[in-house]
């Protein structure tokens, strides 16, 4: 067990991936390809996969701010997702407030939930933190399921599928794809900004050695709370966008452990604590799971999930630094370190 086999989670100098806060040609190329895919008139079933990849890429980046940068591995992020989705949907369907405004209110409420979770888990580390976030999301889920006068209970909430700009409902998938891409790019930019900022360095310090960070004058509790609140707010925005695209909220899905796992899984596969990792994770996993389900779902019951989960185990065991780490290794091969 040499030190080299343990991949460092901190963003390193990478051939394709630049130092903190800078943008590489690889990332610009990826963005251009994404834009080209949005404007090219592709079949709308593929557009479906594309926009989901963007949305989940953004959500993975949002999770990564807490999980990758601040070391707060949360399995309760679907609570923030659900809170954001419910807030904008309730405001628009019940009070006629346009989602363009509701999204921000949802983000604010999600941020408050995030801060509360950070305070509850102030002293917890490792598995204790993970399981507490899971329990927190369960409390929110059961609350949403039973507070039916507000959330519509188990019947969920429906948004009328009538296209309107004010209602943020579009007829064309390309419009949604553009919206989701914008979300992805925005969260990516925030992540990049964070990497270069003082706050970002505080977070790395807290993650890598909390005691030392505290001694150096960083307030760990404040840092953790701010990171989780920011991550929650961005996740809440993703939730609102999800609601506007699917137009139906089901409490047993939008706040569920499986969704929380999904948020954490994408950065883990792509590469934790890097800006590009979660994006790569989403671009790989989201299309893959959709395609597996559509091609294998009907031939043998459950087979697609068997293959999918088997692949995940293999990836986790053999590429623990994620795709970003694997790519990095590949591009460095033969070069002096």
């Amino acid at each position: 067990m040499s030190a080299e086999t343990i991949p460092s989670l901190s963003p390193r100098r990478m051939a394709w991936f630049p130092t903190r806060g800078r943008i590489s040609w690889f990332e610009i190329a990826l963005l251009l390809i994404a834009c080209a895919l949005v404007v090219s008139g592709m079949a709308s079933s593929l557009q479906d996969v594309l926009l989901l990849s963007f949305l989940f890429g953004g959500l993975a980046l949002a999770w990564n701010i807490a999980g990758g940068y601040a070391g707060l591995i949360s399995f309760g992020h679907s609570a923030f997702f659900g809170v954001g989705a419910y807030a904008s949907t309730i405001l628009s369907t019940r009070y006629g407030i346009t989602p363009w405004i509701g999204i921000w209110i949802g983000a604010l409420i999600a941020a408050m939930f995030g801060a509360v979770l950070a305070l509850i888990c102030a002293r917890l580390r490792g598995p204790f933190f993970i399981l507490s976030t899971l329990a927190f999301a369960e409390v929110v889920r059961i609350g949403a399921l039973n507070w039916s006068s507000l959330t519509g209970g188990a019947e969920g909430l429906s948004i009328m599928p009538a296209p309107s700009l004010i209602g943020m409902v579009f007829a064309s998938k390309a419009a949604y794809a553009a919206l989701m891409l914008f979300y992805l790019v925005a969260v990516f930019a925030i992540t990049k900004g964070l990497e270069a900022s003082r706050f970002g360095y505080y977070l790395f310090a807290i993650r890598d050695n909390e005691d030392a960070a505290g001694a150096a004058g960083v307030n760990p509790l404040l840092g953790r709370t701010a990171a989780l609140a920011l991550s929650a707010a961005l996740t809440g925005i993703g939730g609102s966008l999800f609601a506007q695209y699917f137009l139906y909220l089901d409490p047993t899905y939008v706040i569920s452990p499986e969704l929380s796992f999904q948020f954490a899984l994408l950065p883990a596969v792509g590469g934790l604590g890097t800006a590009i990792g979660p994006v790569l994770g989403s671009f790989l996993i989201t299309p893959l799971s959709e395609l597996l389900r559509s091609y294998l779902g009907s031939s043998a019951v459950g087979l697609h999930l068997v293959i999918y989960s088997f692949g995940l185990i293999v990836v986790m065991l053999y590429f623990p630094a994620g795709l970003a780490g694997a790519l990095d290794k590949l591009t460095r091969r033969g070069r002096p370190r």
Partner: protein
């Protein structure tokens, strides 16, 4: 010369056959959205078997207007997978008609996606009231809305069981237990409203989570209020847990009415044995008194039951029979009248349907609302003639007992013997 003529004729006939054949072969694609994986898979797969029988039967009879029916499957494990899968079938496979989806939350999700694309959705079993109350144009709920399950359960108490219990209907102590997902809540709401309208007060009225692992508190509370009749809306796993706990704590009622999925599942007998006998179930009728069926339907019904039993080695549950009935109605009453098979045309045909009770295999008729229903003018596509009856588990099988016109048998074992005598 002759050879040339012959070969020309041959080629011509071959081409003719090819084009004709191609025309005849062009199938009608129907998207079937059911939960094939996950916790609801069992019911989804039963429904799928029933729907496949309907497809095979219609194709053996030459299809619809000479076109075969072809299914495209979508795995609607949960509402969000349902939306993705519906989108996929519509945009990738070009499906213009969807059907399915067994459970209410999935039905809500599938119809949402179908409506967005203006695709005709023929819902077979989803029951939550909200399905038809969102102002959708292309969603048709052929199965009964949740309210009807509740009404059937309350009606049998008022019209029949009260007499057998020798009590005035207003004095019957009625308790209501519902699982708090979309279906249970919707049926529970219906029962509450309906029994209030009938002047009956519920002595107990609580929801629970279907993943509950301990039923003691619920059964204990019911024991404390000692109802005469309990109406319970459950899924299979919690229904079994409840019955076992009722036995353990010796909780007895004079009549027990289960609603749908949990109590109609054939495995209930495997799980709780013969003590299942005497339990009433308000649900789609698994098999109705043949007398109410139209003669042509009678034949279809016999064939369906024969094939289903041959294939699955047991009689279909009510929801499977309902799934068959609904798609069979689609194949025989809606599609044959179509020319373009476009959703707008299908919608017109569906709205014109006026089939009396007994037109479908499970005793239902069809008459859809179209923003013209006095109870809720926002309602469209709800089938006002869907039949929900009450049947009863017996020592050997089950018998339809209510309403009288569908019944194959009289209600028996009222009051229900205590656990010590079951």
């Amino acid at each position: 010369m002759r050879l040339v003529f012959r070969s020309c004729a041959f080629v011509a006939s071959f081409l003719l056959a090819l084009t004709f054949g191609a025309q005849a072969q062009e199938p009608i694609k129907i998207g079937v959205l059911l939960p094939f994986t996950g916790p609801l898979a069992k019911n989804g797969i039963e429904n799928w078997e029933a729907m496949q029988i309907a497809r095979d039967m219609i194709n053996e009879r030459g299809g619809v207007n000479g076109r075969k029916i072809e299914y495209v499957q979508g795995d609607a494990t949960n509402p969000n997978a349902a939306i993705s899968e519906t989108e996929r079938l519509i945009t990738k496979d070009g499906v213009k008609i969807t059907t399915g989806s067994f459970a209410s939350p999935i039905a809500i999700a599938v119809s949402q996606a179908a409506e967005r694309h203006g695709v005709f959705h023929w819902e077979t079993t989803g029951a939550a009231e909200i399905i038809t109350r969102r102002g959708f144009k292309y969603t048709f709920q052929v199965g009964a809305p949740a309210r009807k399950y509740g009404q059937a359960a309350v009606d049998i108490v008022l019209d029949d069981l009260a007499k057998r219990l020798k009590k005035p209907a207003a004095d019957v102590k009625l308790a209501l237990l519902w699982e708090n997902r979309a279906f249970g809540k919707s049926v529970g709401d219906g029962i509450r409203t309906y029994s209030q309208a009938k002047g009956i007060k519920l002595v107990y009225d609580e929801g629970y989570d279907q993943t509950a692992t301990d039923m003691t508190p619920i059964v204990q509370k019911l024991k404390d209020v000692a109802p005469d009749v309990l109406i319970a809306i459950s899924f299979p796993n919690d229904a079994i847990l409840f019955q076992r706990k009722a036995k353990e704590l010796d909780f007895n009622v004079a009549a027990f009415i289960g609603v749908s999925a949990g109590y109609s599942a054939p495995d209930l007998r495997d799980s709780i044995g013969d003590s299942v006998a005497g339990i009433f179930v308000a649900d789609f009728p698994p098999k109705v008194n043949e007398g109410v069926l139209k003669p042509a339907v009678k034949e279809v019904a016999r064939e369906f039951y024969k094939r289903y039993e041959a294939k699955l080695k047991r009689a279909p549950a009510g929801h499977a029979a309902a799934g068959f009935s609904a798609v069979w109605a689609l194949f025989t009453e809606v599609l044959p009248k179509a020319k373009t098979y476009e959703p707008d045309e299908l919608r017109e045909i569906a709205l014109k349907l006026d089939l009396p009770e007994g037109s479908l295999v499970n005793g239902s008729g069809i008459k859809f609302t179209n923003f013209d229903w006095p109870d809720d003018p926002k309602d469209a596509g709800q089938n006002l003639r869907a039949s929900i009856g009450v049947w009863q588990w017996t020592k050997t099988g089950n018998e339809q007992v209510f309403p009288p016109e569908l019944a194959t048998h009289e209600p028996a074992m009222v009051p229900l013997p205590n656990w010590s005598n079951r």
